[in-house]
Symmetry: C2
Subunit: 277 residues, 2 copies
């Protein structure tokens, strides 16, 4: 693992690291904020999964998460959104290929060899973090924005016991029923929709739900709201009687100005779950 | 004036606007955050002047100022750092020409026609804001980072009564004595150093000081600290017995991670001055 940069930040350190990923078969870069408390021992960690077109860097510089993570003594990891590099397949569209891994393990050509983002985020990167940093793997929470909100919700529901809490900003909520989803799931997983179900937060909510608290914010004026389909997830949450706070925020759109506005609420929400018990 | 974007942000609006500048003789773009309180009437305003290579956008997306400005009910304006466009002179170096206006009125060719950033920030943009937005021009404060800290300090000291408070993050503090300064001042203002003095915060501090509180933060591990010359300004402040808080922050560098870490302190500092009396 190589240190690309480390900057003092809110009393802790904002680092950027690169490593050779055996899962994605390419170099992968991630950001990690460690609060001051990490000098004294392992700290809880919040995963932040980013949206389409993003790298590890966007949320790290624009979402304002460190402000509140430092206040709560929580680490935040910012993984990249896909494998990258010259030997990695790509597509001319912004929403397929590099920058658009969709947090699945691709089974279809040309994506299968590198696009294994599910395993990367669920297995390889957690192990790397536990080995190299003062992270308490028993206290993890997860959030994300847009495609990353989709990733956060589906990982949390598919890995019971892993995350104490899950939240999302404007998540892609029903990808099997929208163009942000059908296009990518068919490309990465093939046409058999049975393989898609675990990657649809609304279907997973109907099927299994989440054993912990959920917080979801979506801008009522989100310019992509028809692709997000928040109504499908809201209905599924209500049908299941899932512990959840589901908010539509008037006037807000899909931007990082929206994300940063509600970041304090999300980090505080996760801190309550991470420090409870 | 043209609206390029408006995003809901911390209960207010983060806008980006473009206008034909008579001062710079080109189109100029700026960001303006208006807190929710601006819907009910004029609000105080904090000027944020950015550093070398920045546009209006960098601090607007990375400095975290809106978080605290919203809490205090203060507007924040993010001007660009220079004139721009095809007809505007430029230089291959990052620290001269476009993106490096240095907050002076150039008198030398090829810069003179467009590089009038002092008048733009001191005269044209304030008038435009007062005419178009709910801004209380009697309650203004100013801050900035690096070259923008230089701009904030020199504008505040040269325009007595204009700003109630001034702060700076890692300001270029003694440009007549460092390569970040001598190069630009000679290019824009010519070789007669008498014309440079009003653009040197340390010289201005010796000459006139500031009738109000000052807050300055510089990272003790700033990678450009030899170019900033904080010692010159610290000495001048102490000699004058100027009301000031001058802090060296251990471990911090020149990045926006440094700026955002101390942004709450700076906005709170300005709020006290803006809401006092």
């Amino acid at each position: 693992m190589e240190t690309l940069s480390e900057n003092a930040c809110f009393g802790g350190v904002q680092g950027v690291y690169r490593h050779a990923s055996s899962t994605c078969q390419c170099d992968m870069t991630f950001g990690l904020f460690l609060p001051a408390e990490a000098k004294d021992g392992p700290v809880p960690i919040l995963w932040y999964l980013s949206g389409l077109t993003c790298t590890h860097e966007n949320a790290m510089t624009k979402a304002g998460a460190q402000t509140w993570a430092a206040e709560q003594g929580i680490a935040v990891v910012f993984p990249d959104t896909s494998p990258r590099g010259e030997g990695v397949a790509d597509h001319a569209d912004y929403d397929l290929g590099q920058g658009a891994g969709f947090y699945v393990n691709a089974t279809q050509d040309p994506w299968a060899p590198h696009f294994q983002m599910w395993d990367y985020v669920a297995e390889e990167l957690p192990a790397l973090l536990a080995e190299n940093f003062a992270i308490d793997s028993d206290r993890q929470a997860i959030t994300g924005h847009s495609m990353g909100g989709h990733g956060a919700l589906t990982l949390a529901m598919n890995l019971p016991g892993r995350f104490r809490s899950v939240s999302a900003f404007a998540p892609i909520s029903n990808p099997t029923g929208a163009d942000w989803g059908r296009k990518q799931l068919s490309a990465y997983l093939g046409e058999d929709e049975a393989a898609w179900a675990k990657h649809d937060a609304s279907l997973m909510m109907k099927e299994t739900g989440f054993d912990g608290p959920i917080l979801i914010d979506t801008g009522a004026d989100d310019q992509f709201i028809d692709l997000l389909r928040p109504e499908a997830l809201a209905q599924a949450i209500a049908e299941r009687r899932q512990q959840a706070i589901y908010r539509l925020q008037p006037g807000y759109d899909h931007s990082y100005f929206f994300v940063s506005t509600f970041m304090e609420d999300h980090v505080t929400f996760h801190a309550e779950a991470l420090y409870g018990d």
